[in-house]
């Protein structure tokens, strides 16, 4: 007869068997038995956040930078509701999270008890699946299933809600492995057929204006996927562009890379997407920030879509060849088959795509990421470029908040490795970057972790600086401070007759003093000529730093596709701004 364990013991036993090293959380009444058990499990370290949303984003940063699932432990009621933003963020960006929440004792469920909420009801639309555990003997099965659902197929968050009495009750523990046999939620069991591969290769061979369009699926598939992607791109000699989430899967400084695409993507990437005759989408989902006007999206192209999630295929854009597969698996077999018959493809095909590359060269000459620099005031783009130049020689991890600074970071910081870029793309959560940086630093001790931030975003989760100081995590918060919610201000300038309604933040804190009050280092840069020195100072400090980079308040983020327009109608800079239509205002 196996030894009976309490629910709380079962939780830790399952975490140990899942090889969990860190949990991010915040205690409270309904989760106390689990916290009580923490001391008996030395292999698991708890990171105390200052707010459950912070714990959630930290777990996301940990997961994104390490490839392992992030684990989150919160109490009932407000603990669970505070975690909802992080869960939704992880759901949108396909980040594996396992959230364990306390719940009021089973006999009090439904009585509006203190700190009770319908946690599984609230989190149902923002998790892949969730469970309310009503019998302690189900607990170990559910916990292991939770890890499996979170990490297989298209990854995402799950939640296990455990009432307090279940945490005390004794039950049996069993390690369940691969309980989930479902094809669509498990790793895709779909075997790629040779005929699919041959169709793929045939389209590649016929194309004279091809482009690779890759996304977060390549990152999620693991570092192998990036390796194979680089091999395939080099085998074909085709140009490649990436979504926001896919940055780093292909080297950002490679000549075949056209930069990011989409609303704030480069002129060459967007025009190539519009004019291509073959679009090879690997692990991206035709998001509305990518496609712009769907009816006029890349009208003349054949489209191939590789995605692990069948519901992502055909959702927004119809494609000619759909392959449901993990990226690594597909690329591996595709490359093998491609090499068998096309030994010298790049050279023999050079002629065919030479005009296309010529055209791309012309688009590149527009230098769409250019900006007018200044020697008096720090331009935000310049700040990101300097940060890149001064950190590119070490293995640097970048997180961001959401807004202009995020787009400038994506445009001007060049990533060469996967899992080095953590940003909230789908949900667009201001306040993501600082706690995410904490999780990244936990997973990557000794590495340089920088949160490229805006002053408005970072104030949303600023309390987590206290966490960074407590665990001696030397994260660098690089704030591009323009005193505005910059992206809101930009839209108001372009679409709302410069009526800057509530987008200016008066009474900002003094970030240097704020840093000091948290017990970390505050640095301020006000002019371009002191910038490099100050950035170097930030990098060399082995403590958390808040860097207040005072930048041009009026700078806008270009290029930009005004939505409702196809890819080939971008605004390149302020001189091209057009009259604002009433329809535009309604839709924003």
């Amino acid at each position: 007869m196996p030894k009976l364990l309490s629910g709380a013991e079962i939780v830790f036993k399952a975490l140990e068997d899942q090889k969990v090293e860190y949990i991010f959380g915040y205690p409270g009444g309904a989760v106390l038995p689990i916290y009580d058990e923490l001391k008996n499990h030395k292999s698991i370290k708890h990171i105390l956040a200052r707010h459950e949303q912070g714990a959630g984003h930290s777990a996301e940063g940990y997961a994104r930078s390490s490839g392992k699932p992030g684990v989150l432990l919160v109490t009932s009621g407000p603990g669970a509701t505070n975690a909802v933003t992080a869960l939704t963020d992880a759901y949108m960006d396909s980040i594996p999270l396992v959230c364990i929440s306390g719940q009021v004792p089973t006999h009090l469920i439904g009585t509006d008890a203190f700190q009770e909420c319908d946690t599984t009801g609230i989190t149902r639309p923002c998790t892949k699946h969730n469970w309310l555990v009503k019998d302690v003997n189900d607990l170990s099965r559910i916990l292991h299933l939770a890890f499996e659902v979170a990490t297989t197929g298209r990854p995402g968050p799950v939640l296990v809600d455990i009432p307090k009495d279940i945490q005390f009750k004794k039950g049996k523990y069993k390690f369940f492995k691969n309980t989930l046999k479902k094809k669509l939620n498990g790793k895709a069991t779909h075997k790629i057929s040779n005929s699919e591969l041959d169709k793929f290769i045939d389209l590649i061979k016929k194309s004279s204006k091809p482009i690779f369009y890759t996304g977060g699926g390549v990152i999620n598939s693991g570092p192998e996927a990036s390796k194979y992607l680089r091999e395939l791109v080099s085998l074909t000699g085709f140009p490649i562009t990436s979504t926001l989430q896919g940055l780093g899967a292909y080297p950002g400084d490679d000549p075949q890379f056209l930069g990011m695409l989409g609303m704030h993507g480069t002129y060459e990437a967007n025009n190539a997407m519009h004019d291509c005759d073959l679009m090879i989408n690997i692990g991206a989902r035709f998001d509305d920030r990518i496609t712009g006007k769907v009816d006029e999206f890349s009208p003349g192209s054949k489209k191939i879509h590789v995605d692990i999630d069948p519901s992502s295929i055909g959702k927004n854009i119809k494609v000619d060849l759909a392959i449901v597969s993990d990226v690594t698996t597909l690329l591996k077999s595709l490359i093998k088959r491609f090499k068998e018959k096309n030994k010298n493809f790049v050279n023999s095909n050079k002629q065919k795509t030479s005009k296309w590359w010529e055209q791309i060269g012309k688009w590149r000459e527009k230098r769409s990421l250019n900006f007018i620099n200044s020697d008096k005031i720090i331009k935000p783009q310049h700040a990101v470029q300097r940060l890149y130049e001064l950190t590119k020689n070490q293995d640097t991890f970048i997180t961001t908040e959401v807004g202009q600074h995020q787009m400038w970071a994506a445009q001007h910081y060049k990533f060469n490795k996967p899992n080095r870029w953590m940003t909230s793309g789908g949900l667009g959560t201001m306040g993501y970057g600082l706690p995410a940086a904490i999780g990244v630093q936990i997973a990557n001790p000794g590495k340089l972790v920088v949160d490229i931030a805006g002053e408005a975003s970072v104030l949303m989760t600023m309390q987590e600086m206290s966490t960074a100081v407590q665990y001696r995590l030397p994260i660098k918060i690089f704030i591009l401070n323009n005193e505005y919610m910059g992206m809101v201000r930009q839209w108001q300038e372009l679409l709302h007759e410069k009526n800057y309604s509530e987008s200016y933040t008066a009474a900002l804190p003094d970030f240097v003093k704020l840093a000091e009050s948290y017990g970390c280092i505050g640095i301020r840069a006000k002019t371009p000529n002191e910038l490099d020195e100050k950035i170097n100072e930030m990098i060399s400090v082995d403590k958390p730093v808040i860097f207040d980079c005072v930048v041009d308040k009026a700078e806008n983020c270009f290029p930009m596709i005004p939505s409702g327009k196809p890819h080939n109608q971008m605004i390149l800079g302020p001189e091209e701004e057009e009259e604002i239509s009433d329809e535009g205002k309604v839709l924003v």
Binding site: T120, G121, R124, P125, K128, H129, L132, K134, V149, L180, K182, L184, N185, M263, D288, T291, G292, K293, V294, D295, D309, P310, S311, G314, K315, W491, L494, L495, P562, S563, G564, K565, E578, I580, S581, D582, E583, G584, K585, V586, L587, V588
Partner: protein, 182 residues
């Protein structure tokens, strides 16, 4: 029309709307219906009718029949999204009007009236497997099984004969012949 500069995309062309019957086999566990219904409301799909009951007591499998409307693209999404749910075992999808599929809805009508009127009621319902469930000298409760449109028409016809209450189920479906849903 002036071109929009909105940051969001403008709606594209809308395809032809079709009516489909979607049958879903699920684990009969707490919250499963909320998951299905939430998926429909959350993604803006429409549920016209819903019928659900456990069909396998041993394995705790429920069979849910949903009547919905949408463009072919939306219907495909509904199928794919349903299949992603953890408690969903399989999904079958039929276009309304497919020949080898049977559909039925059940309705109960309560009609007030004298015996003459009640005789008329029985006559009108004759084609639809009528069963008298309850009868007094002033009222009758009659059960029929038929297609949705037929029940709609019956309800309309019975109005003048003293129909005071209607209760009806969602549609259930089954294949003809020896074939079963795979």
């Amino acid at each position: 029309m002036a071109k929009s500069k909105s940051a969001y995309s403008v709606p594209g062309k809308i395809g032809k709307i079709e009516r489909h019957i979607i049958v879903v086999w699920v684990d009969n566990e707490a919250g499963v219906l909320a998951r299905i219904a939430g998926l429909f409301s959350g993604r803006g799909y429409n549920i016209e009718s819903l019928a659900v009951a456990e069909v396998d007591k041993k394995k705790h499998i429920s069979r849910i029949t949903i009547v919905t409307e949408g463009t072919p693209q939306v219907i495909e999404q509904i199928n794919l999204q349903l299949k992603k749910l953890v408690p969903v075992h399989k999904v079958a999808d039929f276009k309304r009007g497919e020949k080898d599929i049977l559909f039925r809805e059940l309705a109960m009508f309560k009609v007030l009236g004298n015996s003459k009127k009640i005789e008329k009621v029985k006559k009108i319902c004759k084609k639809f497997n009528p069963v008298i469930l309850d009868k007094t000298n002033k009222s009758v409760v009659i059960q029929v099984t038929a297609l949705r449109a037929e029940i709609d028409k019956l309800a309309l016809d019975l109005k003048s004969l003293g129909l005071i209450s209607t209760s009806r189920t969602g549609a259930v479906a089954m294949t003809k012949g020896s074939r079963i849903f795979n």
